[in-house]
Amino acid sequence: MDINTFIDNFAGQLDETPADQIKPETNFRDLDEWSSLVALSIIAMVDEEYGVTLKGADIKSAVTVQDLYDAVKSKM
């Protein structure tokens, strides 16, 4: 697992934000299109791509994309 493919997978759940704007330090909650549905899509993507079950609380305690990556990695 590496951060670049994770960022691609993360960006794949967005429709408006150009993928190259997503960086490890991006505060994902500040994205205009961030919503509860995007959060559910991230959980489903992580399940599909990494076989890891993220909880709502994991998303809640993460601030940046890097934090999410670390949360997934710690559960692998």
Binding site: L37, I43, E48, G56
Partner: protein, 251 residues
Amino acid sequence: MSSYNPFSLSGKTILVTGASSGIGRTTAIECSKMGGRVVITGRDSNRLQETYQELVGVDHVQVVADLTDSKDVDSLVDSCGILDGLVLCAGIGKISPFQFCTQDKMNDVFAINYFSPVELLRRLVKKKVIAKCGSVVFVASIGGCPGGKFTYGNGIYGASKAALWSMMRFAAKELAIRKIRVNGVNPGMVETNLIKHGIITDEQHKADMETYPLKRYGQPEDIAHGIVYLLSDAASWVTGHSLVIDGGCTI
């Protein structure tokens, strides 16, 4: 006059699936308190035994069965005897946004939420072990059913319950010939293990509760009492409908 109770289940034998947890467990216990004799079934033998110990009265039976396993269903059908009531409560939740709704996920959910209750009812009907004037209750949901709620990520679950709701109506029409009534209950969010999967945070649940006119989620008893009504002779002229029990959230 003091014994007058049109909601009594005394003299009735009722099979309850999903009786090892949540709504099914409470329904089984409430049915026994209303005088019914129950046959309870679930997968987990320890949790089923916990329910069994809480039943009031005598002659109750427990049968461990995975309702997606045809052989287990056979032995369940064989151990039931004649039934006056059937509560089809076993089911699972699933949260998955549309683009992740693969057929694999649908198969898992439909297997227990749709195919298993319909198949169990079919076998019982074919074997003619549901008594004349018997009552069948499907536990559907407001999620996905007509007039209900269509929340993000609930498509697979809601579609399985909508299919169940539809088959409930067909069964009601056909089984009326044998005077068997078939109804459903459509609960809103009820505090059981089914909603404690962690995908939705406690804060989100609390915020959601505030959108309910009655400002709380349901307790299993809220649903069990609706089911008791539909099982009882008080509902003798009710068939083909699903009772919405949702704290007003679909108003």
